[in-house]
């Protein structure tokens, strides 16, 4: 392992708000760009590309992605960004728009270079303390947990909810989230995420090309894709399919190669389709190790069958952990490595 390199593992924050004006229905999407830019500046990243549809706005950032729904913000940043610094300004901006925070979910894997992380990301304990200090007090139902703590793929989860969120539509909400983290990517496949020196392309056009040649375009043919290739290497994309997003980020450098895939789906969707997506993603990168973390309404076991879908690709399930989080549902983290390891 390199002494130091780019930290691919993202930190992911999801903030849910209540009080959206149903007349306009645009809620947080009305946030002016200057304010948004200031928040991103505090986190230490910028917007490189963006697109919106009827349901939500998506931004490709210099370090990962941002999604803005009328009542929800999902922000995911890698490297040494200080993601949690966005919590307070986002909550404050939302208040000026008549929106109140009702739920917060923070997740991440295990950093490859934990020593390089700045405060408050110095440890999970520091992150939890920082969150507790910066979240409004009415989010009193909290839980922090390090799942799969014995595996190489620890999964860190923190959730906080208010009273209303606790009793709200936990059952009505049919969406699940899947977060896949992959390391030690196949070297030949990872090469596809490098640009040729002086290729004369823009980040947009080089990104579009990578989306095609790597097979990422085929993961969901219905999605509108907003992609970007960094110079000299690295790739990010956001997919928009109706009200659902997906996102891929790749750090291809040997020694600390990393790729992530995340998407949302409905528990009522065809499961076979979901397993097909998982397989396509694994085949794009052929990692030596990967973790699949699913968050879904309790009672729907979306994690079932994940191992059956992935094991035929030459990987073996090494550990599985499940836990319940108030107003969030069940989180299951499953870690796989190649059979040869």
């Amino acid at each position: 392992m390199a002494v130091s390199g780019f930290e691919g593992f993202e930190k992911r924050l999801e903030l849910t708000f209540s009080g959206d004006d149903p007349a306009s229905g645009k809620g947080l999407r009305r946030l002016d760009f200057f304010s948004l830019e200031k928040v991103l500046h505090a986190v230490q990243c910028t917007v490189v590309s963006a697109v919106g549809n009827r349901y939500f706005d998506s931004y490709v950032l210099s370090e990962s992605s941002l999604f803005v729904y009328p009542n929800k913000i999902i922000i995911k940043t890698c490297g040494t960004t200080q993601l949690l610094k966005s919590v307070r300004p986002l909550v404050d901006h939302a208040i000026t728009m008549g929106l109140t925070l009702c739920g917060c979910r923070y997740t991440r894997g295990s950093f490859i270079f934990p020593q390089a992380q700045p405060y408050p990301h110095t440890s999970f304990k520091d992150e939890v303390v920082y969150l507790e200090e910066n979240l409004p007090k009415h989010l009193s139902f909290k839980k922090a947990s390090v799942m799969n703590s014995k595996s190489c793929y620890k999964w860190h989860v923190f959730t906080a909810s208010d009273e209303e969120d606790m009793h709200a539509d936990a059952d009505a909400d049919d969406l699940y989230t899947v977060e896949i983290c992959m390391t030690e990517l196949d070297r030949v496949l990872a090469k596809k995420f490098f640009r040729r020196f002086n290729d004369g392309k823009t980040g947009d056009s080089a990104g579009k090309e990578m989306t095609e040649i790597t097979g990422i375009r085929d993961v969901n043919r219905n999605a509108l894709i907003c992609d970007y290739a960094f110079d000299p290497c690295g790739y990010s994309m956001n997919g928009l399919d109706g009200n659902r997003y997906s996102t891929v980020h790749v750090t291809p450098e040997d020694g600390f190669s990393y790729a992530s895939f995340e998407c949302v789906g409905s528990v009522y969707d065809d499961r076979e389709e979901f397993f097909g997506v998982l397989q396509k993603v694994v085949k794009i990168f052929r990692p030596a190790a990967l973790s699949v973390s699913t968050t879904c309404p309790t009672g729907h076991e979306i994690w079932r069958g994940v191992a059956k879908a992935i094991e035929p690709l030459g990987m073996r399930l090494r550990s599985r952990a499940a836990d319940e989080f108030p107003a969030t549902g069940t989180v299951v983290s499953q870690a796989f490595t190649t059979r040869r390891k």
């Binding site: 760009f33 917007v47 590309s49 963006a50 697109v51 823009t202 056009s205």
Partner: protein, 120 residues
């Protein structure tokens, strides 16, 4: 060549009549037209708007139009605009290109590509 007040600016088309008039004007002058299909509630549209205005200032030989997809719903659906912003490049009534999303580099490169054909 006659200059108009709107030169160097993004012209907002707020009615179907104004839109048709601008298209006609563009057809007559054989100028390259770039249309920004935007929405007031779309964050990425606000992100790219200043950049688009700057391009308009720099390139007086290109007509820059702006259409709000809520204001001119029929135009947006006729032109199959589903994501915002969408930039459509037109010349003499023909669609030359389409850039979907707030992509500064791609927007600039596409402009350069078609401006070459304008001066030729």
């Amino acid at each position: 060549m006659a200059t108009s007040d709107s030169e160097g600016q993004v012209i907002g088309c707020h009615t179907v009549e104004a839109w048709s008039e601008q298209l006609q004007k563009g057809n007559d002058s054989k100028k390259l037209i770039v249309v920004d299909f935007t929405a007031s509630w779309c964050g990425p549209c606000r992100f790219i708007a200043p950049f688009f205005a700057e391009l308009a200032k720099k390139l007086p030989n290109v007509t820059f139009l702006k259409v709000d997809v809520d204001e001119l719903k029929t135009v947006a659906s006729d032109w199959a605009v589903e994501a915002m912003p969408t930039f459509i490049f037109l010349k003499e009534g023909k669609i030359l290109d389409r850039v979907v999303g707030a992509k500064k580099e791609e927007l600039q490169q596409t402009l350069a590509k078609h401006m070459g054909s304008v001066t030729a």
